[in-house]
Symmetry: C2
Subunit: 235 residues, 2 copies
Amino acid sequence: MRYELYYWPGIQGRGEYVRLALEEADADYADVARGARGMAAMTGMMEEGSGTPPFAPPFLKAGKLVIGQTANILLYLGSRHGLAPKAEAGRLWVHQLQLTVADLVLEIHDTHHPLGPSLYYEDQRAPAKKRSEEFWNERVPKYLGYFEELLQNHGGAYLTGRRLTYADLSLFQIVEGLRYAFPKRMKAFERKIPGLIGLHDRVAIRPNIKAYLASDRRIAFNEDGIFRRYKALDI
Amino acid sequence: MRYELYYWPGIQGRGEYVRLALEEADADYADVARGARGMAAMTGMMEEGSGTPPFAPPFLKAGKLVIGQTANILLYLGSRHGLAPKAEAGRLWVHQLQLTVADLVLEIHDTHHPLGPSLYYEDQRAPAKKRSEEFWNERVPKYLGYFEELLQNHGGAYLTGRRLTYADLSLFQIVEGLRYAFPKRMKAFERKIPGLIGLHDRVAIRPNIKAYLASDRRIAFNEDGIFRRYKALDI
């Protein structure tokens, strides 16, 4: 079965967590909206017609199923492609970690959009500065400290031990994204999270991920995505 | 088996979505942190000791399992208590709806905390006003319009048709909360969502929910929770 991924064609965004899982699994998929007439197809799928229209991209078509919400897509893919434990306890635990990553991603987005997603960054520069300050003082230590402690205490290469899960792929992306958006702040912070940096490096050299990152399927970071490099926020 | 719910004892917050599901299911549970020594028990569970420490409350202890993240807890409870379809497609769809509710809940929280969760509302009144304005102009119509359309198109009493799911209970709570926090704005908006209001009313008179709402197990809304009534934000 060939999966169809639907996501905005110009950004990594939330679609990237799904792309990383599909690539690691060497799954057959089309990144539909990046192709000709792809955007029209995506918009069409969001109409009520299907009975289960997604609220927003990304969503994945898998045979007859249309699955929305990033963490939900990963829940579906994880058990099918060896990216999560099959037993219920492990499955729920990895999903829980992914939902915590999703909360972090929303807070990252809020650093440049504290007044809401419908306004431009240029119209909320001052609050964005304050929110970014709070984010780095309070939230980054809390979130990344949590994952760091898990890594240290489980003593493994990955969050749940020896085997990679989709949550590890997502944490790789978090490290990549924070390095892109906040190079100064992240450089100063990295010494506090040696476990996470190690995880990042192990993911980066996995053959399928390495090939993906070097391909043109990987969209470059840019200022339309979740991770945006604004000098004023990185002091 | 007696469930143990762990959540902040003084607020409805995110724990309320779990409480509503447990109450509707007539499940046996203890709201641990509301009892004597409950807070100490909750804090203890968040230490690494368990191997799978939750990032934040709410979390549910179900036998040996400790499950964190509201939507993840509902995913677990749904299939066990007839609050979600058992088949994969339906299960994923209801979970997807719940994750969309979770996104909305985060945006509701941001109306009074646009500069971040660690600062007081009193230190972010002006940005909170702007964020609330954007929330009601753009986000409420988008989110509630989405759920309204689902209800209208499926022609049923509940989101997925004739049978109640945990996502319906959560939407009941959204309507209750918006009425509490933004009485003026919500009153003006309700005529646009007759289906959702109907769903709210049907949930409110379900025997188990009705009994719960009248009991002292239901904590009153207050200004420490997600839904806060600040006059300046409700104009």
